[in-house]
């Protein structure tokens, strides 16, 4: 293998490993933001992404997304991978992207969705929903990207808008957590179980995002690689910074969950444009996204959709904003930079399509699940917490309450001798 291809391959493998490591970030973020009794469950859902999601996307999804183009609508079989990098490196990197989409959904439906229903959602998301709209934007011959010239470098639309609006639809179908909203429409505070864990998750996500954005070059010799990374950092910093200031202005305290989400919002918003905008624009995009995520969190509450981790505000709203921002700040064709409105319109169309696709497929899937296997745990299980109900063990066990003495109550399982559980 020649040195340049080797370098590209090593770069994409390392970037892919970083993207996959983001799953650890999602897990910690969600485990920290939900209530204690569901901390194991959200972690286990990330494992579903990393297991079922990986296999399904490898077997099916990647072909639909990057296979030979059929009618500009879908890929078929043979994966067309960029020539400068080893095909398996390309595949590995793309797997990370696919399961990130699923992980976005996982947070929004936390604390009340059936574990088995979530498995189905991951399979359908990684196997169908994401690859199809992904093909439109990134596939060889896709109608939005190759056709109309939509710009979505690392996936503000293809990943984050899609995931965010799927999250919205599914959070709507599954319904809010018990007692989350009052009859008068006001929302109650469900305190997050572990903020240091949540912020550790945010740091891991931030770290992984360098792979997410800069790795999307799929080539180490891409001259833009380092400015992509710098834009990513600046937007995240600006997003977190403006969220700190705006929450201090609005709430008189620097709200940690908003700070975390502000940084992530900056990252989401710069994802589409990181390769197309100037550093100053990256800072502006970040500053806006930090405020936007706070406002959007309020909007989601006001329409009484319960999103425990803020996935809709972070990924959905800022995915849309980030995609549109390319139309404003692209150095070659942006409205603000060149006065040209064309790209902005294309981006707007692209965003509309992705939002509609995400909402409709997820809504349809959710309703189908509700009517068939059921999508929500029982009220009793919700109160008890999914950790015990679906996984048999609480997240934190200080008390040695399970160490039964000789002959007390312990029975080794053998298949079949137990009651069916609601999982």
């Amino acid at each position: 293998m020649n040195t340049t291809t080797a370098l590209n391959t090593v770069w994409v493998i390392l970037a892919g490993a970083l993207v996959l490591f983001m799953e650890g970030g999602f897990s910690l973020l969600e485990a920290g933001l939900v209530r204690t009794k569901n901390a194991v469950n959200v972690t286990m859902k990330i494992f579903v992404d990393l297991t079922f999601g990986v296999i399904v996307f490898y077997l099916i999804g990647v072909h639909l997304l990057f296979g030979r183009d059929v009618l500009h609508l879908i890929g078929f079989w043979h994966v067309v991978s960029p020539s400068q990098v080893a095909p398996s490196a390309f595949t590995l990197f793309q797997i990370g992207f696919a399961i990130a989409t699923a992980s976005i959904v996982s947070g929004a439906v936390a604390e009340r969705m059936k574990f088995s229903a979530y498995i189905v959602i991951v399979i359908v998301t990684c196997g169908l929903i994401y690859p199809i709209s992904g093909h439109w934007i990134w596939g060889p011959g896709g109608w939005l990207g190759k056709g109309l010239g939509m710009e979505d470098f690392a996936g503000s639309a293809a990943i984050h808008t899609l995931g965010g609006f799927m999250a919205l639809a599914l959070a709507y179908v599954v319904g809010p957590r018990k007692n989350r909203f009052n009859s008068d429409g006001s929302a109650n505070v469900f305190a997050p179980s572990n903020i240091p864990l949540a912020s550790a998750g945010a740091f891991i996500l931030w770290f992984g995002w360098f792979g997410f954005n800069a790795g999307s070059t799929l080539s180490a010799t891409d001259a833009g690689l380092s400015s992509i990374a710098l834009n990513t950092l600046l937007a995240a910093a600006a997003g977190g910074g403006s969220a700190i200031l705006f929450s201090m202005y609005r709430y008189k305290v620097a709200d940690p969950s908003m700070t975390i989400n502000g940084s992530l919002a900056g990252l989401v918003a710069i994802t589409a444009g990181c390769a197309y905008v100037a550093p100053a624009a990256a800072i502006i995009i970040g500053l806006v996204s930090g405020v936007l995520v706070i406002l959007a969190t309020g909007w989601v509450d006001r329409i009484m959709i319960d999103d425990p981790v803020g996935a809709v505000a972070v990924h959905g709203v800022n995915g849309v904003f980030g995609t549109l921002a390319v139309g404003l700040f692209d150095v070659h064709q942006g409205l603000f930079t060149t006065g040209n409105v064309h790209l902005l319109l294309v981006q707007a169309l692209g965003v509309l399509v992705v939002v509609a696709w995400g909402l409709s497929t997820a809504f349809g899937l959710g309703v189908l699940l509700k009517k068939t296997m059921g999508i929500r745990v029982t009220s009793r299980s919700e109160e008890e917490g999914l950790d015990i109900v679906a996984h048999g063990i609480p997240a934190y066990n200080e008390l040695e309450r399970f160490s039964d003495p000789p002959g007390f109550s312990m029975t080794q399982f053998t298949a079949g001798n137990t009651e069916p559980k609601e999982v």
Binding site: H391, I393, L399, R401, F402, S409, Q412, T418
Partner: protein, 116 residues
């Protein structure tokens, strides 16, 4: 003056607090506990072994009230904490010999005086 111990479901805390406030009782102390009573054991699983979860998370409320508040407080707790299923909890009432307010250093006969 009496002390009421109420063992309730964790998710009923704010209802009970509100219900108590409506009968004029606002002072109380809350302790997270693990309890066992009529409620059926659930079965947990860890690394291939089933185990009995024979203690369930509950909250214990300790509420000190003047004698003539006892019954309305008990009623207020029952109203707010009852679901009708096993595991709702118990209430016990104890006698108090003396009571002091650390801030004022005073001893008093009713909790209302105590709260001055």
């Amino acid at each position: 003056m009496k002390r009421i111990d109420a063992i309730i479901r964790p998710e009923k805390l704010q209802h009970v607090m509100r219900s108590l406030r409506q009968v004029g009782v606002s002072g109380l102390t809350v302790i997270p506990v693990q309890g066992r009573g009529q409620q059926k054991d659930t079965t947990g699983v860890y690394r291939g072994h089933a185990y009995d979860i024979n203690l369930h998370p509950k909250l214990k409320l300790e509420i000190v009230v003047s004698d003539d508040f006892v019954h309305r407080s008990v009623q207020a707790i029952i109203d707010a904490a009852q679901t009708g299923e096993t595991g709702d909890g118990k209430i016990f009432v104890y006698n108090i010999l003396e009571a002091y307010n650390i801030r004022t250093g005073e001893v008093d006969e009713t909790i209302d005086e105590l709260n001055r």
